[in-house]
């Protein structure tokens, strides 16, 4: 078959619609989708910001003990992390409109977001280490029972492991996008 014949088969479907639309159902679904649509990055950022803000202030003002430098150290670390996330959010938002409105532009935007998510997850992961050191020292110096120190260590290890899984998940997503981009430009 020549291409012109293939095109004729294709054009046949324009003469009569293969499907009808249940408009009432469509409008209902559109409205529902509008209400529930949320962005993963935004949710993650706000959750992290709230966590760092709360923990930072609590460490500064609520916890007392023999080593105030530990409280201040941990509080400052949390607030630095908070500022870091706010800055990266502002950068992400400012870059959002710089992509062309075509398929390549959309893929590049998605790649940019995926890269950002990897970086964000990496930042969070490496914050665990100094937090673990500060927290461990604090609990030890406050002469807390061993089970409390043990639980804190387990939670931090679990968090560190979970963030590694998260990073890999975002990386796999980014790899898929890179592959798709290669398909488009090659």
């Amino acid at each position: 078959m020549e291409f012109e014949e293939i095109k004729k088969i294709w054009d046949e479907q324009n003469k009569e619609q293969l499907f009808a639309i249940n408009e009432a159902a469509m409008f209902r679904n559109i409205r529902n989708s509008k209400i529930v649509s949320e962005r993963i990055s935004t949710i993650t950022e706000f959750l992290l910001m709230a966590t760092f803000l709360y923990t930072g202030f609590m460490t500064f003002f609520k916890i007392t003990g023999p080593d105030y430098w530990l409280n201040y150290g941990l509080g400052i670390l949390m607030l630095i992390a908070l500022i870091g996330i706010i800055i990266s959010r502002i950068i992400r938002k400012s870059k959002k409109t710089r992509f062309d409105q075509n398929m390549l532009g959309n893929l590049e935007q998605a790649l940019h977001t995926a890269t950002y998510q990897v970086k964000l997850a990496q930042i969070v992961r490496w914050i665990f280490l100094p937090v673990a050191v500060f927290l461990g020292t604090m609990l030890y110096r406050l002469e807390r029972p061993w089970w409390m120190i043990f639980t804190a260590v387990i939670i931090l290890i679990a968090g560190f492991w979970a963030s590694a899984w998260e990073i890999n998940w975002y990386r796999r997503r980014r790899e898929k996008l890179v592959k798709l981009k290669q398909q488009l430009i090659k």
Binding site: M1, E2, F3, E5, I6, K7, I9, W10, E12, Q13, N14, E16, Q17, L18, F19, A20, I21, N22, A24, A25, M26, N29, I30, S33, K34, D100, Q101, N102, M103, L104, G105, N106, L107, A110, R173, K176, L177, L180, Q183, L184, I185
Partner: protein
């Protein structure tokens, strides 16, 4: 723009260009539930894109651009993040079959579906008669690259057509 005006434009676009969305939905999704899910996502994006439409391209090009981008995004998403099929089954279907589909057209859709995700978009645009320039604009690649890719797709479809048994 008021919501009423937006809805009027949307109804008109859907009436006029629904076939564009059907084609994209067919090429990127398989089961009825998936088709419903993808159709709804595209319809939602088309609806919300109306205030941004400044007439720099034709309405058909605009809708194609949105439909293809949403289809790719939809494919990329992890299955668990898509609207679950069970959930969709609970609702009424948005797409209702109106006519039996020609066997030759089914064959053609099958061939397109076997292409990679990007080439499927190009095949749709090629078969719907878009110019190289328009395709380059939609895809964000150069016209010469469009030419190379379309040549490959055309050759693929013609070669496949020589192997079909029921003598189209």
């Amino acid at each position: 723009m008021t919501e009423k005006q937006q809805t009027e434009i949307f109804n008109e676009w859907i009436r006029q260009y629904r076939s564009v969305i059907f084609k994209v939905v067919h090429v990127y999704s398989h089961t009825r539930s998936e088709q419903d899910d993808l159709f709804q996502e595209i319809a939602l994006q088309v609806w919300s894109s109306i205030p941004r439409f400044k007439g720099q391209s034709s309405e058909k090009t605009w809708i194609y651009r949105i439909a293809l981008n949403i289809a790719l995004k939809w494919l990329r998403r992890e299955k668990k993040h898509r609207t679950s099929h069970e959930e969709l089954e609970k609702h009424q279907h948005v797409l209702l079959e109106a006519h039996p589909i020609d066997q030759r057209l089914i064959w053609l859709y099958e061939q397109i579906t076997r292409l990679n995700e990007i080439d499927r978009s190009l095949a749709l645009l090629l078969l719907d008669g878009f110019s190289y320039k328009e395709i380059a604009g939609i895809m964000g690649i150069s016209e010469s690259l469009v030419g190379v890719k379309l040549h490959r797709i055309r050759k693929y479809l013609v070669t496949k057509s020589k192997k079909i048994k029921y003598g189209v």
